[in-house]
């Protein structure tokens, strides 16, 4: 199964949506950011003006015999076809075909790949979240209306630049036990410098400074057990 790459896009650029006009059907998709140190790319997906719907699919001959212990999905296999969507304003010949049980065939250009879309959970504020499995990876993907995402970005863009110089709160990305703390308040640190060592699953994991700064606060001491999201260090 060949990889789906951006090069399989048809390459035609969409017409402008007008002055700030956003297709009300468009969505913004991104990875749940909380679990990643680095900002992840987001994607805008807009259906083409006249979507084509297939109603009688030939269900692919996917692997059989897997022992699925996840609760079976009672939903009949649905067919979702979206030929010619706009991905970040580039027209792409892509579609999604249900294979049942949360499994789908993602078709883009001449390539296809099996994905799993788990049940969606809705968050307050119109963000829906779902786990997506593809090529061995599992991602938690957030989907929201493009209109809402664009509005929020406009509203926060003025503050965005100051965020880079404000205090940086370093949070735990793995649970474990703090076995060494290498900095104290007032220390100057450079990007990449070791802040502390967390032991998880029998391994010692070094946590390093994401950028230069001065240690403002250290929220943990040696021997403390931490959970994902715990505040470890504040760098100003």
């Amino acid at each position: 199964m060949a990889g789906l790459t951006p090069s399989s896009a048809t390459g035609t650029t969409a017409e402008s949506n007008g002055n700030g006009g956003v297709d009300p059907r468009a969505v913004r998709v991104r990875l749940e950011t909380a679990t990643h140190l680095n900002p992840e790319p987001s994607m805008r997906v807009t259906p083409a003006p006249e979507p084509l719907r297939m109603t009688n699919p030939t269900v692919g001959t996917g692997p059989l015999g897997g022992v699925a212990m996840a609760p079976a999905n009672a939903e009949p296999p649905a067919v979702l076809a979206q030929r010619q969507v706009l991905v970040d304003d580039v027209a792409v010949d892509a579609g999604l075909r249900s294979l049942g049980g949360g499994r789908y065939l993602l078709v883009e250009g001449g390539d296809q790949v099996r994905v799993v879309l788990e049940a969606e959970t809705a968050e307050p504020g119109g963000v829906a979240r779902r786990e997506v499995l593809v090529e061995g990876f599992r991602f938690v993907v957030e989907v929201e209306s493009e209109r809402v995402a664009a509005l929020r970005e406009r509203a926060t863009s003025g503050r965005a630049s100051s965020a880079h110089t404000g205090p940086l709160r370093v949070k735990a990305i793995i649970p474990g036990k703090v076995v060494a703390v290498s900095v104290k308040p007032g220390d100057a640190v450079t990007a990449g410098q070791q802040l502390l060592v967390v032991e998880a699953m029998k391994m010692q994991n070094e946590l390093r400074a994401p950028r230069d700064g001065t240690i403002d606060r250290v929220g943990v001491t040696v021997g403390v057990n931490i959970e994902i999201g715990d505040l470890l260090v504040v760098i100003s």
């Binding site: 015999g65 993602l106 799993v116 119109g126 061995g136 809402v148």
Partner: protein
Amino acid sequence: MNTPDAPFRRVLIANRGEIAVRIIRACHEMGMEAVAVYSDADAEAAHVRLADVAVRIGPPAPSESYLRIDAVIEAALSTGSGAIHPGYGFLAERAAFARAAEDAGIVFVGPSSDAIEALGDKLNARRLAARVGVPSVPGTLEPAPVDHPDQVASILETARSIGFPLLVKAAAGGGGRGMRRVTREQDLAAALVSGSREALSAFGDGSVYLEREILPARHIEVQLLADAHGRVVALGERDCSLQRRHQKLVEEAPAPGLTEEQRRHLHGLAIRLGSAAGLRNAATCEFLYDRDGRFWFLEVNTRLQVEHGVTELVAGVDIVREQFNLAAGAPLSPEVIAAGERAATPSSHAIEVRIAAEDPARAFAPTPGRVGRWVMPAGPGIRVDTHIEAGDRVPADYDNLIAKLMVHAHDRSAAIDRLRRALDEAEVGGVQTTLPFHRAVARSDAFRVGDLSTGWVDEHWDGEVVRRAAVRKALLAAGLAAVAEEPRPAGVGTSGSIDGGAATPTGRNGWRSGGRGQGVDRWPG
């Protein structure tokens, strides 16, 4: 359920996870009752569910449960267990544990405490190898003076004679813990201290020594079985070159590309070591194989290995079953002796990949959590050893191996094809696993031609690039599902709360009204 000719009536398994499950299965096949021990983190774990009796031995921290010799021995005595199988890790290579079992009149399924001491301590093993003329990786034979700053000059002298880059290794070590790679003289002192600290925390023994780093090299090991009459048989070798942080990711049997003569030579070195150490039961001799075709002895593991399954598939021997028979005093079975005679001319191939809760795109960092979707492959030539079901928790307290996927076929090329097919069937949600790495291995030309080395992962795996391509597909799939013009299935809004939200993407009408409506309808609380 006891069988009259079973070697023991009741066996305690001093372990958890997939290996405890694998040993319990062997017990049940042999008509023996299995006693599990568990910490509070494992009260509902698979090994507890499968065992005939389960004994709680303490809180989650290994030092307060699975590493407590007194608690495990007490559990064996109170349940009337005639034998203890230690599995791998935890207490498996603690001579004191084997001795405590021996003293309590319980059979320890493994080498004797004396042999564990002689072979399990890497410095001891290196000295033994020197005595019987088996070449060891060049390095020191005595512990480095970590606590004596005045002796730093002498250790530097030794280090220079070994040559940089070199490795600081824990004498009591395993799994790469306590190990440090040192490329420059000025980093040696710090590496000795931090390696020793990690070794002390992991093994209760901070002794470290120096060893030359042989690179490029392949990691090849020999499976030994031995009986109480001093007979030692090599069941064949495994190539375990694909490692990250000195921990194995992929193992195969036999090691590709060796000639029959090389195999006989290698198996002979291992048998010589095992015989000299008075080995009983099962053990593995690890070697590095350099580009000049030389084998360098690394260490002996005096226990069942994680990767024993690939040897079982190729040799046609159930190693755990043999361990129980040998522990009960039986001589090596005719099947084992025949398998030993065939070991230099293997006629099939097996590959194992370790599915671990780690993110291969983030330097294989641990990803403990709760497993969601869990689909393992099946069909011809597939073996999956696991303790995991959908919904199970992967605790941060223990090793993050959650399944071993093994494939077996008539030759290596067919085994790789089978591995690729099997990995396409696997679906694991909830926690990130090493699956993307294994998929890349199964598709790698370098792997297929047998271009293996302990530096393979660094040379051939760029997790960030692979991940980026997968992220795009994930976003596109979720985006397509969201914009698809599907009629709302009947009943959404009432059934949603029953089936946990339809797994099938439904209409996206909600977006049009600001992205709220549908979510609120489906999740009324």
